[in-house]
């Protein structure tokens, strides 16, 4: 009944997308760290924004929140913006309670995140 966290990364103009699936818990540490590394170093220009897409994530626990905090801390140190999309109402509430949403702008889905961040051309590339 558990599903390991997996991540795929995509480069868009000015942004890198990390699409997460499965469970964001303690076992996701390596996946998330490597995905972030790949996202910011992967081809093209250095992305100023990292998009975390949680649409295919079915579980986030307190350890997963700690991992997201670590990613955010690293991104802030590197002067990158982090945004998130695809969170269920419950996990949006948890982002509010923990104040993550004060530092990570939330979008309902990837299309709206990409469209707002990088414009319609990037949205076409993201699809």
């Amino acid at each position: 009944m558990t599903s390991m966290c997996e991540a795929t990364t995509r480069a868009l103009p000015g942004a890198a997308v990390i699409e997460l699936s499965g469970e964001v818990d303690g076992s996701a540490a390596d996946v998330l760290t490597k995905a972030y590394q790949s996202a910011v170093q992967g081809g093209g220009a250095d992305p100023g924004t990292v998009v975390l897409d949680f649409a295919a994530v079915d579980y986030i626990n307190s350890t997963g929140i700690a991992l997201i905090v670590s990613v955010l801390a690293r991104a802030r140190a590197e002067r990158r913006k982090v945004v998130a999309c695809g969170l269920s109402p419950h996990y949006r509430e948890i982002f509010d309670i923990t104040r993550l949403s004060d530092f990570i702008e939330l979008f309902p889905d990837l299309d709206r995140a990409v469209s707002q961040l990088t414009g319609p051309a990037a949205l076409k590339a993201a699809r």
Binding site: N61, S62, A66, L67, V69, A73, I94, I97, T98, L100
Partner: protein
């Protein structure tokens, strides 16, 4: 003098789990099944599931030290419109409650002044209507109380 009649608690489920990482998912699934049909709104059910998962994870890791042979006990009861999930480990005397665990401060965590971890109890407290801890010898029990009706701070907007 008015006599207040309290509803008699009814046990909905009771089970044990080996103290192995990941078993908190089993606990939340079974608790969710045991309260199905009690008119718990979806948002409150999700909160209860998160609180159960976090409390069970604490019981497995901190209470029972990930020793699979020591079970985590879970009991679900209902009294009127109140659901109580009691989660017991054997870490009572060995691992007493920390006096005042540091409240998580995201800004401090981002600046390195606090560990990124330490969200478990904070989440539990914010997910349920009440959280109580009792220690009886080795037995350490965290009781999570959730009303089936809406509370003031409830539904998602």
């Amino acid at each position: 003098m008015t006599q207040v009649t309290r509803p008699t608690p009814r046990r909905l489920d009771a089970f044990t789990l080996p103290s192995e990482p990941g078993n908190e998912r089993l606990a939340l699934a079974r608790v969710a099944k045991s309260v199905a049909g009690l008119d718990l709104p979806e948002a409150r059910l999700e909160r209860l599931k998160t609180a159960v998962a976090e409390a069970t994870m604490n019981a497995i890791e901190h209470g029972n030290q990930n020793r699979a042979e020591i079970p985590v006990e879970v009991e679900v009861t209902q009294a009127g419109n109140v659901i109580v999930v009691a989660i017991t480990d054997q870490g009572g005397e060995a691992n007493p409650e920390p006096g005042n665990p540091e409240e998580p401060d995201l800004l401090r965590k981002l600046d390195g002044g606090q560990s990124p971890r330490g969200w478990g109890l904070f989440l539990i407290r914010n997910m349920v209507d009440a959280m109580d801890v009792t220690i009886n010898g080795q037995r350490h029990t965290i009781s999570l109380t959730m009303r089936t009706g809406g509370a003031a701070h409830d539904e998602h907007v």
